[in-house]
């Protein structure tokens, strides 16, 4: 059974199923890891143990079928060990859980290597793991009722008889019952008896029973068994003989290659003549109606099992294409609405009604299409129990991880991109935020630190928080570090502004650079990643109480709620999330700072003013501030007032890529197609705000 060897596989190319196997094996591993991390070694739930066993067993089955010997070998060891555990023949220990976690990691690497063609795990490493797992089997005592696979077994035949008044056939039952301690006992019925239905009929008919024959499969030797029986029965009435000696089971072949003869791969409990294949008039009881009943989807926790009858796998490009087409539909519908708006609504009432319905239908379709790509946050959160466990152990800290709102949904593309920033933030909390157990106790805190991951919806966005109850951010430390680096800071800066400093590249107040974090290359990348996703980051912190970092993201990458504004003949779209308000300034509110530019006073705050016409290099219609509109923008760089000619309206727009045929343009985050078919640019607010604030550094 070699991979891709079509002749041996009956003309079927098995490699077409490999991808599905890799996917489901990785899912099994994910589920297994989640279960292992949740296991309480003292009081483990038997259903959880069974699930872990099944995961290993399932992967082994697939690996063996598709010819992945290394994976089969390792999963076989895991399966053997865990079979013992689930049958209560072996105690669960932290060491065992760790060994399994390590094996799971190795399997992930092996599967990934097979799937992507990279370097797989070395044979030595795999062997070392197998040895480590096998070590748990060592203290295994002799046989018990459950069949432990890799143990030597003998097949012995026992003949009881002859029977007479002093030794009845029935009394043998009692003896056989005791023998069950040694292994599996089966009676051999005489060949003449025709088995109707099931075999094993022990009821004697008119004929007196001469002898009773039994077969026992046991780890005990022939002599030991004989000794045992002499206690139970008259040795003259029992004959013990060896039928099959134990095969050395050291290489209990995990991936058996059955040699010649189909009998090794297949066997029947019934006569071959009774098989439908051999019956000319095979009467299959046909059931007229072939309705398939839909199963209700079973409740699943974070670690999903591979099979779910009520879902299908769809490739991501297909989903993306569907969403693109729906986006096109939204644009077309908008264009229709625009065209129709020029007509008389009374005269064309039916048309307008139809268009209104079309708009509703399109919005619904859009939501439904978007929701296909939505996945629960658990996909992002699921790896953290492991990360926290490993890193905390490495750092000698004791940490509890809480997750809230795992079911909160987010677009698949964003989930994938949020994982790295989240990981960095969690590591930071573990490394710098949380104190050591001793330090915590000295401060009067609980010994175990807590990290909380929380996700929830807020308006049209999703908020993801990483918080800890550690030492919090140190204002003084950050300020002095900033001054050290020559950054323009002042003691009068607000807490928020000081916390934002840690996002600057190369900034780290870590005293010691650990290999977990501290090199200062992280936070700026985190913020940039989040901004590129159209989101923003906020920090709250109190000394010795803790820190909370909030990430706010749009629900989806493709659609934007925006405000359209006009400068000259051009329309620009500003993402609504960044707009805090818009106003028409009074003359008294505007003033100029020599050499820097204009500012506007809004409720006591002075905000820098920038003209959109200047940014994009075109002529605006309105020169006088009081006749135009100031749109107040807010991003984590601060607040800025953007001067435009006019506000046009609020729209939901489909984001189109500028870069697929052109390139990235500074100040523009994308483009969209308006109702009249024309292209409008979407403003990159973070960039605009950044521009003005570099003009107005924070020095007092």
């Amino acid at each position: 059974m070699s991979r891709g060897d079509e002749a041996a596989s009956g003309g079927v190319d098995l490699s077409q199923f490999h991808q599905v196997f890799f996917d489901e094996a990785l899912e099994h591993l994910g589920g297994m890891e989640a279960l292992l991390l949740n296991l309480d070694t003292a009081t483990a739930d038997s259903e959880e143990l069974n699930a872990i066993f099944r995961a290993a067993h399932s992967i082994k089955g697939g690996a063996a079928t598709f010819g992945f010997k290394d994976i089969t070998d390792l999963t076989h060891e895991m399966e053997t060990v865990f079979d013992r555990v689930r049958n209560n023949q072996m105690a669960l220990s932290t060491d065992l859980v760790n060994a399994f976690l390590a094996s799971g990691d190795t399997l992930k690497s092996m599967l990934a290597a097979r799937r992507d063609g990279g370097e797989s795990v070395s044979a030595e490493a795999v062997k070392a793991l197998c040895v480590r797992l096998r070590a748990f089997l060592e203290p295994a005592a002799g046989g018990s009722a459950a069949a432990a696979r890799p143990v030597a077994r003998n097949v012995l035949e026992l003949v009881f008889g002859p029977f007479d008044k002093s030794f009845s056939p029935e009394s043998v039952d009692g003896i056989v019952a005791d023998l069950k301690d040694f292994g599996k006992v089966e009676e051999i019925v005489a060949a003449e008896a025709k088995p109707k239905g099931k075999g094993k009929s022990k009821s004697a008919k008119a004929k007196p029973v001469k002898e009773r024959r039994f077969r026992i499969v046991t780890e005990v030797s022939e002599s030991d068994l004989t000794d045992a029986i002499t206690f139970m029965a008259d040795p003259k009435r029992v004959k013990v003989s060896l039928v099959e000696a134990a095969a050395p089971a050291a290489e209990a072949a995990p991936a058996p290659q059955p040699q010649a003869g189909e009998d090794k791969e297949f066997g029947l409990f019934v006569e071959a003549s009774s098989l439908p294949a051999n019956q000319p008039a095979s009467a299959a009881e046909a059931k007229a109606d072939a309705k398939v009943i839909e199963l209700k989807a079973g409740a699943k926790s974070g670690g999903a099992q591979a099979s779910d009858a009520t879902s299908i796998r769809v490739s991501v490009p297909k989903v993306d294409q569907l969403i693109n087409l729906v986006g096109e539909l939204v644009i077309t519908q908008a264009m229709l609405a625009q065209t129709a708006s020029k007509s008389d609504p009374v005269l064309y009432e039916a048309l307008f009604n139809g268009l209104a319905t079309l708009q509703r239908n399109t919005r619904d379709l859009q939501e439904a299409a978007m929701s296909i790509r939505m996945m629960p946050m658990s996909f992002a959160f699921s790896r953290f129990p492991r990360v926290v466990r490993d890193v905390a152990a490495k750092l000698g800290k004791e940490v509890d991880l809480h997750t809230i709102g795992e079911g909160t949904e987010l677009d698949k593309g964003l989930i994938e991109r949020i994982v790295d920033p989240l990981t960095h933030l969690v590591r930071n909390s573990l490394d710098h935020g949380l104190e050591s157990p001793e330090e915590r106790v000295a401060k009067g805190k609980v010994r175990k630190g807590t990290i909380t991951l929380r996700a929830y919806h807020q308006g049209g966005a999703i908020v993801i928080e990483v918080s800890d109850d550690g030492r919090g951010l140190r204002r003084d430390k950050i300020l002095s570090k900033a001054k050290e680096r020559g950054m323009a800071v002042s003691d009068s800066m607000t807490d928020q502004e000081i916390w934002s400093l840690i996002f600057e590249a190369g900034f780290s107040t870590a005293d010691v650079v650990t290999d977990v974090s501290g090199r200062g290359v992280g936070m700026d990348v985190v913020r940039r990643n989040i901004q590129e996703m159209g989101g923003r980051v906020e920090i709250e912190s109190t000394a010795d109480v803790g820190t909370r970092i909030s990430i706010k993201l749009p629900l989806t990458l493709a659609i934007l709620d925006g405000m359209s504004v006009r400068v000259g003949r051009e329309i620009f779209i500003i993402p609504l999330g960044y707009i805090s308000e818009s106003l028409q300034p009074k003359a008294e509110a505007m003033s100029t700072i020599a050499g820097k530019g204009n500012v506007v006073s809004v409720r006591g705050d002075y905000l820098p003013v920038v003209s959109l016409a200047d940014i994009v290099g075109i002529e605006g219609d309105v020169q006088n501030y009081q006749q135009g509109i100031l749109v107040i923008l807010e991003s984590e760089g601060g607040k800025t007032a953007l001067f435009v000619d006019d506000l046009v309206g609020q729209h939901q727009v489909v984001i189109k890529s500028l870069e697929s045929n052109y390139r990235k343009v500074a100040g523009v985050s994308g483009a969209t197609i308006m109702g009249d078919g024309r292209v409008a640019m979407i403003l990159d607010v973070a960039h605009v705000v950044g521009l003005t604030h570099s003009r107005f550094p924070k020095a007092a």
């Binding site: 290099g617 697929s660 390139r663």
Partner: protein, 169 residues
């Protein structure tokens, strides 16, 4: 409004196979006539005012919506300083498909589609025409006309045109 592409009038002598690789779309820029491989041409449209792109070079007019795709429009007359860049009912935009990107270029007018046989194409002498000779693949002669044959893909993707990231301008 879209102009129809003219069918090729085989100017070559009989017996020469008209493979598409030898088919050229010819167009005018100023006083000169140019030819580009027909395979790179997606369609021909009339000019519509593009949406300007902030702080872009003057020869990049902006972007337009081509059935849902955002396509940049380059005015070759401005870029190579030929003729006068007028925009009227006859102004034509050739939509190109080069290196996986869709790009439009404004020209004065489109002439026709021509098949050139091997012997009708001569290497170009080293005079400096409107633009760098590295983009000129040869000179074609058809009856009295001289066509300057251009590698349009190479030209569009060059740093010079500032259409591609990493471009320096």
């Amino acid at each position: 409004m879209m102009l129809q592409q003219n069918e090729a009038k085989a100017a070559a002598p009989a017996g020469v196979a008209a493979g598409q690789a030898n088919e050229f779309l010819t167009f005018r820029l100023g006083t000169e006539e140019y030819g580009i491989e027909i395979l790179k041409v997606q369609e021909i449209r009339s000019y519509e005012t593009p949406t300007t792109i902030a702080n872009s070079p003057s020869f990049i007019k902006g972007v337009v919506n081509l059935r849902g795709t955002i396509v940049p429009i380059v005015d070759m007359r401005i870029k190579f300083n030929v003729g006068s860049a007028e925009y009227n009912a006859f102004t034509v935009v050739i939509i190109l498909n080069v290196a996986g990107r869709v790009v439009g270029m404004v020209v004065d007018s489109v002439s026709d589609v021509i098949t050139l046989a091997g012997e009708q194409i001569r290497p170009s002498p080293d005079f400096s025409a409107s633009f760098d000779t590295q983009y000129i693949t040869g000179l074609g002669t058809v009856e009295q006309r001289m066509l300057i044959l251009i590698d349009i893909e190479k030209l569009m993707m060059s740093a010079d045109m500032a259409l591609v990231d990493g471009a320096v301008h």
